[in-house]
Subunit: 215 residues, 2 copies
């Protein structure tokens, strides 16, 4: 299914890097887990990083009920949510053609407060499971007070697009003869060995989902 191209999502430059099918947009959203949320109350832009999860055609973010960002967004202001995955450095023969391989998604729209209790719980589970699958079943679930202290917002994935660069450098034809190395250095977010909480009681092992964490 294809997302509509609008003035805001249409790529003015390098249009072949643009993708408007939901499958591509969702695959990037499902691999990333940090978004940068932009909003501009009274014209002053703010860009704030936060976790997120996608459920169907909605993106959820959450945080403290006291969060300035969530309060502003729930007032129904225009927002822009961007997710960026860096896949590699692209080393060309010329300085000019250096680039990066990346996959990014930009979503425009307005967020709304999730106050339906079932949707709110489902969103919190999705947020947790999206960041680390298997964790929710292990943890103490939120109390009523914690639920009240948590704000969940949903943003419709309607006006959205992906931008992707892959592959080797693209040099000017005459530069291919130059005697320097060119290629790609792949980059990936990797998990290290889990670190026990210093107050962990003895005899509690590291669960599989933490030991084999991958994105």
């Amino acid at each position: 299914m294809t997302l509509p191209q609008t003035d805001r999502t249409k790529l003015k430059r390098l249009p072949k890097r643009g993708h408007f099918d939901r499958e591509t947009v969702y695959a990037i959203l499902d691999e990333g887990f940090i978004c940068h949320v932009g909003f501009a109350p009274e014209g002053q832009p703010f860009v704030i990083p936060t976790g997120y999860a996608r459920v169907d055609d909605k993106l959820y973010i959450h945080g403290s009920q006291a969060s300035r960002m969530l309060k502003t967004l729930s007032g129904g202001v225009d927002a822009c949510v961007t997710v960026t995955i860096i896949d590699g450095l692209v080393l060309a023969r010329s300085a000019f053609h250096h680039s990066m391989n990346y996959r990014s998604v930009v979503i425009f729209g307005r967020a709304t407060l999730v106050d339906d209790r079932e949707e709110k719980i489902a969103a919190l589970v999705a947020l947790s499971e999206h960041i680390i699958r298997g964790r929710w079943a292990d943890v103490r679930e939120p109390t009523e007070q914690e639920m009240r202290a948590t704000t969940v917002l949903s943003m419709p994935i309607v006006e959205a697009s992906a931008k992707i660069r892959t592959g080797p450098p693209l040099d000017d034809e005459e530069d291919y003869a130059l005697p320097m190395w060119a290629g790609v250095i792949p980059l990936k977010l990797e998990a290290g060995e889990p670190i026990n909480d210093p107050r962990l009681p003895e005899g509690i092992g590291i669960p599989e989902y933490a030991r084999r964490y991958k994105r």
Copy 2:
């Protein structure tokens, strides 16, 4: 040296996570290499990822002279530049206290076009060297035409702050007795084995700065 706290940079919540000394802010800027630039022409926010470099108390970004973002920013609009480094997932005993370890910097201000030729070249070198040190000496330098096709903007690092979370989860006291694992899963951007450009002539080895790339 300490940056001034303003209405825009002051942390309303968790103020102990805030840092206003240049040393801390610069260390984060120097470790990261992707920023998310927010701007809001006519009130509509856009958040766009791009590379950057810091030189002294300026942040440089660059791109095509045709870039919509760079054109808008060089018009002198309010911008917000955010750099985020994710250091780990913080797994608490309660869903509520799950968190992430991260270091982020937010800079507010207006960018200006760099048209002084020496500063522009120095910024391009800095952008290249910040992303991969040692590369500039190997590559074909920009031609006059490429210089004209490239826009460089500088943003003063004056109104800026860092936000940092480190360490183990912080659970409610009564939850520490719960029999589940808690701790931190460290995350780090790692470089893989460099991939030769398919058109690389035989006999050109991978340079050290690519083979041992680290951030």
